[in-house]
Subunit: 234 residues, 2 copies
């Protein structure tokens, strides 16, 4: 008899609670423990997305996997943060980890998966990524037929952004934040400024769409994207 709990990583989508999948909703309601990433001073975004679906009798666990740590330091902090999830599973309780967007696409769940999926029965449910939600919210068909699509973090150096953008048909530039001005300048340099579309907090009640040159660089949040759709052919 296996008395261990099961681990679930479920994508909860980009923000609109109705963009949860039927499978994610079923698993969310079935577990005795839910877990989510949460910076110490902020409400968890993933929890907020699903809050109206919670049955109200679940144990909640939050963890915080900070960025920008030395690899050795990060490993030990991550191990420590994930330990409460491990303890619930070891005690036989199923744990559903809520993941903004999709669990395996730039998600913090992957650090949990790599640490615990060998020990516990694990199931992952894909979610609607901002990569799909942003073009839809902008109303721009994104990639056709045999296009190349490149997903670029805004943190890349200017030269790398340029070479990547020159080699692709369509692109999404993510995690703009304080890197916005650099990206905007690159797009002007390449003549892409009129094709590029800016959106922040897509599908949430705070969604904003702005022309590229009206965006104030100092106000750009982390949850923002520039979408460069392919050139329409037919």
């Amino acid at each position: 008899m296996n008395s261990k709990g099961r681990l679930y990583g479920i994508g909860v989508g980009p923000g609109d609670p109705e963009l949860l999948t039927l499978k994610a909703l079923r698993l969310l309601r079935s577990a005795s423990v839910i877990a989510y990433q949460s910076a110490t001073d902020r409400e968890s975004i993933a929890r907020k997305i699903v809050s109206s679906y919670l049955p109200g009798n679940q144990v909640e666990v939050s963890y915080h996997l900070p960025r920008a740590l030395e690899p050795e330091k990060a490993k030990s902090v991550y191990d420590q943060e994930i330990e409460p999830i491990n303890e619930h599973l070891a005690a036989g309780r199923d744990v559903v980890v809520l993941c903004e967007g999709d669990p395996f696409f730039y998600g913090s769940f992957m650090y949990i998966f790599t640490r615990l999926s060998h020990q516990y029965q694990t199931e992952v449910v894909p979610g609607i990524s901002s990569l799909m939600a942003c073009p839809v919210s902008l109303g721009v068909p994104f990639t056709y037929y045999n296009d190349i699509l490149t997903v670029l973090p805004a943190t890349l150096p200017t030269e790398m952004l340029i070479s990547q953008l020159l080699a692709t048909d369509a692109a999404a530039i993510m995690k703009l934040g304080r890197h916005f001005a650099k990206v905007r300048d690159v797009l002007h340099q390449l003549g892409l400024q009129s094709r590029a579309r800016y959106i922040e907090r897509a599908t949430t009640t705070e969604q904003r769409i702005l022309p590229l040159d009206e965006v104030k660089p100092e106000e750009v949040p982390y949850f923002s994207m520039i979408v460069i759709p392919t050139i329409q052919r037919l």
Copy 2:
């Protein structure tokens, strides 16, 4: 008073009916007409995915937008194929177009959107793309933190595949079909054969996962993907 129908394009995901979103399910059930792409001799994949949810009293319209036509020819064929949808909308009936995966991500819905969204109130619902579903089904975390991800159609020439793969952290190679052997050889040439993971018909009851070198090139379907996850760091 506006007596025109409304146009909806809803992503129905990669194959598992439970990967529909709550929003897609609500709209699917609300329309009097559903439309889907269907080659003349085959069942529509998108319709099959949602078949258990259909209320049974909807008008159904199928269309076929063939690939590999001359642009001028394609335009006129597509106009013609889409005309029945236009007629339902003009007559005041809401039409839900079913889209495999996500509507704006390599989808046939985009040809409908560009033709009809200016005339009719239109709403698009993002769906789970194979780009998210395949890594999850393979059990491989895909992209971390500041990775570059490139989505490549297998139709690209060898030299282009090589230069793109050398410039990225993670990649998905789609639409393998008869191009599989070329792609496999490129992956060997670049030493990527052990990182590359092959999957076909992800999340459906016919899903298959095979080691790269056990795939028989002549059996590879269009709905297949090679996922090259980033190298795990933490």
